[in-house]
Symmetry: C2
Subunit: 222 residues, 2 copies
DNA sequence: ATTTAATAAAGAAAAATATCTTTATTAAAT
DNA sequence: ATTTAATAAAGATATTTTTCTTTATTAAAT
C-alpha cells in the first residue's frame, strides 16, 4: 500500500488487483443463485469449492470489497451480494453506445444479462442503410455518418465497438472525440487512444487460442 | 522447467505461459494486416509499438513459437504468420458443437472470423421447438433431447455452451458424456467437469467489471 | 574494411499474483 | 463453563509474469 510523504494513503492505493476484479462477478452470480436456493450464510471455503479456486483467495478477494465474515459461520449471503453489487457498480446505471450492428453487436444489444450489471445500451450506430432507422430490442440504430461531428460532450461514458477490425481504430477515434471515457473493444485489434481513455479488449481469438493450445498439450501427453 | 529423475525434460516443459498464448492471436492479426499492406519484414520493437506492449515480451513470445528474427531486420512477415498459424493450430480444422441458440449462440454461429482460426461449428442444439429443424448460416439446429443419449464417442472435440446459466452444468455433463475434450463456456457459471476435460470460460461480466472498476478509479483520481 | 546502430536473444531483477502457514475468533459440541 | 473445530484474517512464501540489463549478431553507413 503506497503512502505519501505525509503518511496519508494515495488514491492509487485503492487499486484492487485485476484478477480479483475479474473473479468477483463469479462470486456474485453464485451468491445470487445460493440466495434463490434459500441459503442465508456461506463460508469462503464453501464458495471456493463451488468455484474451484483457492479458499484463501476467496477470503482475500472478498476482503477487498470490505465484506467481513464470522468464523464458523461465514458471510451473510444477502449482505455479501449487496456489497459486491455496490463494489462492482452493478447496482448503478451505466449507459452505453454500441457501434457496429453485425451479429455480435445485435447479440450484445439483445443480451438481457447486462441488466444484472446495470448496463444499458441506449443507442446503436452503423453505416449500413438497411439497418439505419430500425430498432433492435427497442434500441434505435442511427446513421453513424450523422453523428461523426457530434457537438459537445455526452453523458454516455461507455462505447462498445463491434465493427470489423479494419474500421475499429477510426471508430475509437470518433468515440474519443465524443468524450467517451471507456471503450469496450470486441474487434481483434489494439486500439490507440489517449491515456485518459480506458480500453477493455474482449478478444475472442485469445480464448480460442488457449483452448487449442490446451488440446494440443492433451494430445502430446497421451 | 521441470525435470524428471533421469534429467530428461518432462512433457509438461512444453507448456507456454497462458498470457503469451493469449497475446499471440494479436500478433497474428496485426501481421496479416501488415502483409496486406505489403510489408516484408517487421522487427519486434515495431510490433511492440503497434500493440503497445513491451518489446522484449514480443521477442520472448515469438521465441516460444520457434520463430527467429535477424538483427537490424526483424522477422519475415509471411514466415512469421505461418509459424504463428501453425503454432496456434489456426491452419488446422477444428469442428465444434454449440448448445444454446439464443442471441449469443446465433452470433457465434454466424461469426465469419472463426474461419480465420480454422474453427467450424458443424451443428447446433436447442430445446426450443421453434428453432429445431431450422438452420443458421447453414448450420443445422437439432433437438437436444434426441442427442441426450448419443451412443459412442464423437470425433468432435470442442463443445460451446451458450445456454442460460441455469442449464449450463447439465449441458456440460452431457458434453462430457459425448466425449467432448474441450468446453468453451459463455454461461456465467463455473462448470464442474472431470480433470481430463478442458474448460475455457469467456465470462462477459468479468470484462464489464474491469471496465466499471477502472471508470470508478478514474472518477476518484479527479 | 571498419564502424555504427538496431536488433534478437539470453539472463537477471522486479513486480504481480497465488498459495501456504499461522494466529485469533467464535459458534457449536461436550 | 470448557473444549473443539471451522473459519476469517493477516502474514510469509512460492510461483508466475513482466520488465530491465547485458551480450552477441548483423545489415547499413562510413
Amino acid at each position: 500500500m503506497e503512502k505519501s510523504v505525509l503518511g496519508v494513503e494515495k488514491r492509487k492505493s485503492v487499486a484492487v488487483p485485476e484478477p480479483a476484479i475479474r473473479r468477483m462477478p463469479s462470486y456474485l452470480t453464485l451468491l445470487r443463485q445460493l440466495r434463490n436456493d434459500g441459503l442465508e450464510y456461506i463460508s469462503a471455503p464453501r464458495l471456493a469449492v463451488h468455484l474451484d479456486i483457492d479458499p484463501t483467495q476467496v477470503v482475500k478477494d472478498l476482503a477487498y470489497t470490505g465484506a467481513t465474515g464470522r468464523p464458523r459461520i461465514g458471510y451473510v449471503v444477502a449482505d455479501l451480494i449487496e456489497i459486491l453489487e455496490e463494489f462492482l457498480g452493478f447496482n448503478r446505471k451505466h449507459e452505453a453506445f454500441i457501434i457496429g450492428v453485425g451479429f455480435l453487436g445485435s447479440a450484445l444489444i439483445q443480451y438481457q444479462g447486462f441488466r444484472e450489471a446495470g448496463m444499458k445500451i441506449v443507442a446503436a450506430f452503423d453505416t449500413d442503410k438497411k439497418k439505419i432507422g430500425t430498432d433492435i430490442a427497442g434500441v434505435p440504430v442511427f446513421d453513424l455518418a450523422k453523428f461523426r461531428d457530434l457537438a459537445g460532450r455526452l453523458h454516455i461514458t461507455i462505447g462498445i465497438i463491434t465493427t470489423p477490425a479494419a474500421s475499429a481504430q477510426q471508430i475509437a477515434d470518433l468515440m474519443v472525440g465524443w468524450g467517451i471515457k471507456a471503450i469496450w473493444n470486441f474487434a481483434p485489434v489494439s486500439l490507440k487512444v489517449p491515456s485518459h481513455v480506458i480500453v477493455q479488449n474482449t478478444h475472442i481469438y485469445s480464448n480460442l487460442a488457449v483452448i487449442l493450445n490446451k488440446l494440443e498439450q492433451l494430445k502430446k501427453a497421451e
